[in-house]
């Protein structure tokens, strides 16, 4: 053989190798981009259930699967329970159930590594299931958060178990890890959120504990306010501020002396001046808590009147923050229709008429309109349980 031919042959082989490497790199890059995009998608979910749903969707882009079940791990029973299902036929259901029963899934979860089971109709785990070669297999993808088992994704795939390469499996593993981290985040987020709501409830409860006549008052003002805000098609964060603002609108009453707060009969002018300070006192209290400070305008101005004759600042019309205008209607209606130191409860119908009468005076007509629209719902709603003081 001509030594030149030999050299040319060698060069050609090198070129082939380089092309293969290049192709491999290109594929890796594409996979990385895909992985990045999918991880971002999963990471964007804030709630536990949203992460789980997204995980099932996102997996579809990486592996073609016929059906899937997402199991959550129950630490106390050391068992897995189905939480989400996708396209599960009765025939597949038998197989998923068998994998639970014979301990395969819990075993797989403990390994913390993806495994593939052939659905070949052989072996103890298919007992009672029609024996047949299906050419199908099951991908068991454990989901861990900080090394602790959270759940397991079981996917029925239309290909043989031996056909997955290590890269396929590690790609799925990376997504499952991302899901684990996101689930942990969602749990933390939900826990913090719950704490936040609990603290607000506890604060609202503190006022009710002092002012015996207003038990449940804050809860009702909050729920009427939310109904009005919904009717006005305001956005969710705003509706939520009305909800919490309603719960906390009278928080400043904590600072009002008992003799004035629970005085039977009318307040003197002097006493009323003291009573009026509850708006500013409440605002001052909330201002000190970063996560509650956005409620300050609602609490401070909930006694302002549309005609400018309210307190503490005598703001008028649209200068009064919208949330405060809503709470003013909700608060007034609730007060009219409940027993107070200074009056007996009037009927809802009477309350509605009073609100209508004061539209454009004490109340913003736009809000009165929204209130009229939800009035039926409000009075039709079962009363929250009322304890006798």
């Amino acid at each position: 053989m001509d030594p030149n031919d030999e050299k040319i042959g060698e060069l050609e082989r090198h070129i082939d190798t380089l092309e293969q490497i290049n192709e491999g790199l290109r594929q890796s890059f594409e996979e990385l981009s895909q992985l990045y995009r999918l991880s971002e998608t999963i990471a964007s979910a804030l709630t536990f259930s949203r992460v789980l749903t997204l995980l099932l969707d996102v997996m579809r882009e990486v592996v073609e699967y016929d059906a899937g079940v997402l199991f959550l791990y129950d630490e106390r029973g050391a068992s897995l329970r189905p939480n989400l299902e996708k396209n599960v036929t009765p025939e597949l259901k038998l197989r998923f159930d068998a994998q639970i029963k014979d301990g395969t899934l819990v075993w797989a979860l403990k390994q913390g590594r993806i495994l593939v089971l052939a659905d070949n109709g052989k072996g103890a785990w298919t007992q009672g299931i029609p024996e047949e070669e299906t050419g199908r297999s099951f991908l068991l993808v454990p989901i861990l958060a900080r090394g602790k088992p959270v759940g397991l994704l079981d996917l029925a795939v239309p290909s043989g178990a031996g056909t997955f390469n290590q890269r396929d499996l590690s790609l799925l593993g990376i997504l499952a890890n991302q899901a684990g981290i996101s689930l942990e985040n969602a749990r933390l987020y939900e826990a913090v959120r719950q704490d936040y709501v609990d603290v607000i409830q506890a604060l609202a409860g503190a006022v009710d504990a002092r002012d015996h006549y207003t038990r449940e008052h804050s809860n009702r003002v909050s729920s009427y306010g939310v109904a009005i805000a919904r009717q006005m098609k305001l956005d969710e964060p705003f509706i939520e501020s009305v909800q919490f603002g309603g719960l906390l609108h009278d928080i400043g009453k904590i600072g009002i002396p008992d003799l004035i707060l629970n005085k039977p009969g009318r307040l003197t002018d002097e006493e009323f001046q003291v009573m009026k300070t509850h708006c500013a006192q409440g605002a001052g209290l909330l201002r000190r808590v970063e996560s509650l400070s956005h409620l300050v305008p609602l609490v401070l101005y909930h006694h302002e009147r549309f005609d400018g004759r309210g307190y503490p600042e005598g703001l008028a019309g649209k200068k009064i923050p919208l949330g405060a205008r809503i709470l003013n209607v909700a608060d007034s209606f609730e007060t009219i229709t409940s027993d107070r130191v200074y009056h007996k409860a009037r009927t809802p119908q009477e309350g509605l008429e009073e609100i209508r009468r004061c539209s454009g005076g004490q109340f913003d007509p736009e809000i009165v309109e929204a209130f009229e629209a939800v009035y039926g719902d409000i009075v039709g709603r079962p009363e929250p349980p009322r304890e006798t003081p």
Binding site: T104, L115, A118, W125, G162, Q166
Partner: protein, 288 residues
């Protein structure tokens, strides 16, 4: 203290280092390729029926505890993982080459293998404690940590035995006596074997640094695991490894593994239980 260069020079005495059988060498190679499928691995391992048989028997042992029967190599790979099946093939093969049953005077390969299995099991327990990501590598690193001793024994039986004698008489660590008498020690030789056998890098380091885990600064997790497992198994008299030196655990390794007295007691208990599950690994020292 011997330098790396001096150790290397001494190693030239052992120039014909044993090589892995072709099948296992190919297994080591293809598992490092991410595009390898379970079916690819099956095709290679199945070329060796004896290996296939042993790997399947180990895969079905209670050490792995899979609740159903595993009947093919493909299944073993998809269920236990590429890494585990590579490690099992390697262990079966290395055992056959380096630990085959024989009594050699003071040195019993039977007791020696028992020690190695115990260190493997203990390494797996320690690696789980610290959430080490690859517990099967920990097991294999423990199982194979002393391959260097087999080589030293095979190349110069008399010299190796006298090293054991000195270690016993003077209560000195065997590796230190080996350096004095042979110019190399089993950890260094083991590291070289790991290198030419293409063992994963972390396994090689663990074998090479097992006796001095903190020598290079901070102890790495796998080395610390193997080091501590070795000392624990020596204290508890699981098998024997020809070493009569102190039982101390390197402080760096102990703190990395958070090994206090309570932890040691817990590890010891788990070891007793899991050694029973690992019986199959002892059994293959008795032929097929």
């Amino acid at each position: 203290m011997l330098s790396e260069a001096e150790l290397n020079k001494a190693l030239t005495r052992y120039k014909d280092l044993p090589t892995l059988p072709d099948v296992v060498a190919r297994v080591m190679q293809i598992v490092s390729n991410p595009l390898t499928t379970a079916e690819d691995l099956n095709q290679i391992i199945s070329l060796d029926p004896a290996l296939t048989f042993k790997v399947l028997r180990l895969a079905n042992s209670s050490f792995y505890g899979f609740p159903k029967e595993i009947t093919t190599i493909t299944q073993a790979v998809t269920i236990l993982g590429f890494n585990t099946i590579r490690n099992l093939s390697l262990s079966v093969s290395v055992h056959k080459m380096m630990f085959a049953e024989r009594e050699r005077g003071l040195f019993s390969y039977r007791d020696f293998w028992k020690h190695c299995v115990a260190v493997g099991v203990c390494s797996r327990i320690l690696s789980r404690r610290i959430g080490y990501r690859n517990e099967d590598n920990a097991f294999t690193a423990g199982l194979l940590h002393d391959i260097g001793k087999s080589l030293l024994e095979r190349v110069d039986h008399a010299a190796f035995l006298s090293a054991i004698e000195v270690s016993r008489a003077e209560k000195r660590a065997l590796w230190q006596v080996e350096r004095d008498l042979l110019g190399v020690d089993h950890a260094f030789v083991g590291g070289r074997l790991a290198e030419i056998w293409n063992l994963p890098h972390e396994l090689r380091l663990a074998i090479e640094r097992q006796n001095e885990p903190s020598k290079q600064g901070t102890a790495d997790p796998l080395t610390s695991v193997v080091h501590a497992a070795n000392q624990i198994c020596r204290r508890q008299n699981h098998g024997s490894d020809g070493d009569f030196g102190p039982f101390d655990i390197d402080p760096g390794a102990a703190s990395l593994l958070r090994l206090d007295d309570g932890a040691l007691a817990d590890v010891g208990q788990k070891l007793e239980v899991q050694l029973k599950e690992a019986e199959e690994f002892l059994r293959f020292s008795r032929g097929s």
